[in-house]
Symmetry: C2
Subunit: 526 residues, 2 copies
């Protein structure tokens, strides 16, 4: 019978003996299928009988039988009693095999997909894939912005809390959770936000997300159509820009001065915008606080026009000079404010828990949309977080971090004051986890960051956070993730890169790199 078979190279089918190669019948099945798909075995060609193959390959007939049965079940063979098996694959299945999936040219994707690979995407997909979103902090560097003091996190306490919740797994907790979030966590968040942030809400308005980014993304999709206008602070948070761009919104930069975003400018330029993204408690990245009169003007416009306000209260629990300022959500008389906060900064970034307080009228829509997009956040971490809050550990950790970050901020500011000679001008630093340092005329942040990156400082550029022209050159310097000594050392390194010998090359580079960015124009901050 083996003489009648066409093109079957028996050694080719010889299974490997090693354990890693898997069971023999599986190997045989795979090699035969591969041969059929590759055309090594032509259509209608006849295979050796299971008896012949068994003998020639030195494996049991049952093993061969199992491989053939599987190929038969999948339609690769037609088995006929008495006349053996025939390859059944139609002709058109044998196109040239694409670049092998083994050992392909993979390139890290952070910072947007390469233009070359955007071909098969939709227009919307190209927009989403080409946006350059700096990833959340993955590097523990002295100046990495928004990085908590990970070494001071009560990991043992948290591990115990998680383990306790994991042990409580029983069928009632194994079915799918609620798209809105785990009720005890929503209640704990609502109870915290009232006194801590002046947010007024019923727990049913609190929706749990993985991150502020997810809350932004869902908000953009639910509240905006393509072409709808959005006010964005200028400079502002890239994550918000990316979310609104992904949704196809038209972005209107609103210049930020010492009192926050200039609402009157926005009103004049884009009165019909559907949504405004603001960070009133602690503007990102400039660190200023939005004045009460601007908050009220914004709320009044939202009330009168039906515009939505997205209040991103990302790090305002950390205020050093006075108590944290209350959120504008608590002043909203018309149900126009969506208030976002996150645990990924107070706790740790890989936690993946954030929340959004929405006006009552939007609860149902967000719930339905959440079910249709990813379902819900994992109940395990939600339950652990709820327990952490209820038992007071969260408030205690917040209090401790407020003291720690105040000390770190002071260390950074003192060191900068001591070490710099006019190369840097600092922005507001009364709150939060970072400070923005404007570069003196003539210095380009792209060139400076190239050097600080090479030294592992973890600072970020300011100028890409501008949407329009008139970008200021500067550095966003986190201070929460490093010890005072670490910050002092980092400042010395930084200053060594700004003046002295390395400075001239930086100046020289300015002209070469200026083509890609607008010239610094300090006036645009005001």
């Amino acid at each position: 019978m083996s003489k009648r078979s066409v093109g079957v190279s028996l050694p080719f089918l010889m299974p490997d003996a090693g354990r890693e190669a898997g069971p023999l019948h599986r190997q045989l099945y795979e090699r035969l299928r591969e041969a059929i798909l590759a055309g090594t075995l032509a259509p209608r060609s006849r295979l050796p009988s299971t008896r012949t193959l068994s003998r020639e390959l030195g494996i049991s007939r049952g093993t061969v039988e199992e491989a053939f049965a599987q190929l038969d079940a999948e339609g690769f063979l037609e088995r006929r009693v008495g006349s053996g098996s025939v390859v059944a694959l139609p002709d058109h299945a044998r196109g040239p095999r694409s670049v092998s999936a083994r050992g392909p040219r993979f390139v890290p994707a952070h910072g947007g997909a390469k233009a070359a690979s955007l071909g098969g995407l939709s227009r919307r997909g190209r927009r989403m894939a080409s946006d350059v979103l700096p990833a959340e902090p993955r590097d523990v560097r002295p100046f990495t912005p928004c990085l908590p003091a990970l070494e001071l996190f009560p990991t043992t306490l948290w591990a115990r809390t998680v383990a306790k919740q994991a042990r409580m797994l029983e069928p009632g907790r194994m079915t799918a959770g609620e798209p809105e979030g785990f009720r005890p966590l929503r209640e704990a968040i609502a109870a915290h936000l009232g006194p801590a942030r002046g947010v007024r809400c019923d727990w049913r308005q609190v929706l749990v997300f993985a991150s502020t980014q997810q809350a932004l993304d869902l908000t953009a999709r639910l509240l905006l159509d393509e072409g709808d206008g959005v006010w964005l602070e200028e400079p502002g948070y890239l994550g918000a820009r990316v979310a609104f761009e992904s949704a196809g919104a038209r972005l209107h930069p609103v210049p930020v001065d010492g009192n926050g975003p200039r609402v009157e400018v926005a009103l004049a330029r884009a009165p019909k915008a559907r949504l405004a993204y603001v960070t009133p408690s602690h503007q990102y990245p400039l660190g200023v606080t939005m004045s009460l009169s601007r908050r009220l003007a914004l709320l009044e416009h939202a009330r009168a026009s039906g515009m939505w306000l997205f209040e991103d209260d990302y790090d305002s629990e950390f205020r050093y000079a006075t108590r944290p300022l209350a959120a504008i959500q608590g002043m909203d008389v018309a149900g126009r404010v969506l208030y976002a906060g996150t645990f990924n900064k107070v706790m740790f970034p890989s936690l993946r828990l954030a929340f959004l307080v929405v006006p009552e009228a939007l609860v149902d829509a967000f719930t339905a949309a959440r079910a249709a997009t990813d379902g819900h956040a994992p109940p395990l971490t939600q339950a652990a977080m709820a327990h952490f809050m209820e038992s007071g550990h969260y408030a205690a950790h917040l209090r401790q971090m407020r003291l720690v970050y105040a000390e770190r901020r002071d260390a950074l500011l003192d060191a900068l004051e001591r070490e710099t000679r006019g190369e840097l001008q600092l922005g507001a630093a009364e709150a939060g986890m970072h400070v923005t340092a404007f570069l003196a005329e003539g210095l380009q942040d792209v060139a400076v960051i190239e050097r600080t990156d090479a030294r592992g400082l973890g600072a970020r550029r300011l100028s890409p956070l501008y949407l329009g022209r008139g970008r200021r050159q500067g550095l966003v310097l986190g201070f929460s993730g490093a010890s005072p000594a670490g910050l002092r050392a980092a400042v010395r390194t930084l200053c060594g890169l700004l003046d002295g010998p390395p400075r001239q090359p930086l100046r020289a580079r300015r002209h070469a790199s200026a083509a890609g960015s607008s010239p610094p124009s300090p006036g645009t901050r005001g």
Copy 2:
């Protein structure tokens, strides 16, 4: 000084003594702010001095001072040395306060937001919020589809695995994770999928998601523009329909017969569709397996036209008659197949881990889009899952569940055969976690489900899974979540609802409810 104050009701400011009311300065701050916002304190009106208030309220001056300082910081007061404090809130902040956020009319939102509350949404948002997506199983009922045997899950082993990972939390694991997923989990998935499902991929093509729904949603946004055509199996999975509808796609139902979706019909009706959603291993809900010739026709069309194929391999690990059929992803010669699988069915629904194997050319785009939408899945559960797979527990659990579900399936089929008298006609049941039962002519599933719901059976309607006309009436009966005895009892209950005394009212109801749905037309399945 207190005489010059306008409209201040001092008793109104009297703090509560109870501990729950919070610190005195906080209470005073809140009452003053409330009075300012409500207009009880008119703009420009003068407040009593801190000394006066302190005396009249019987609290320390430092406490009053603290409240005033906070109001001052937030711009609600202007404090002038020597002349006291003046209310600084501009007039326009005092619109009528909206319906109080306390005690509002909240209605459970499952099944789409009410039309009344869709007013402020975008067109896209209204589409997303009004889609009726039956939530993932939250009820543990005998017939709940796709519900695992939760009582047989090795909870202790899993809790230990999670606890171990939680204890390993250190700064290197606390920073944000990778949008693509945790590498050890991606490697474990790739290693499992090759032998188990015939999927050919490098681990770098494996992306981790919270759920198949999230993978569907991101796929729809990345690969489809509004108006793009999508082939959907008819009847088919609602989650897929909702994801593609949310993305604004034009849906083309492709009738399913005993060999899966009729590709030739789809080609004739919508040759330019950009994507096809298929469940080739085990069609949802009918349970049939797609024939090899149709798989090849689909792959060939995808190769030639550039259409994408989304292969949802949601429960095909559970095959009882023969070995699981290999995925079409493994036959794809042109890099057009996206292969989705989930752990939420094999493990438990609240786990929140699923995966998508994408062609190499799409890896970068998915990575960038994931960063821009929600970030990444929690590393804790990803690490636990990876460990569970590496240590062999996952494969062991799969094997055990395959035996358990086979027994449950047999129990269900035997009971149905024994108890029914022609009211039900069963679909394919060689695999998976459910079977579809078509209702005899004259029975409407909406009416039957009303009765089964009242008895807590957990069955689902078949007819809403059709997109077009010619819907068949039927029930989707899960069998994986209940014991054989539980299934037998449920079948007896079901049959009591189908015939005998309750049957007449059902028939009578048919006409009343028929307005909303097309008449049953058995021919459309072929």
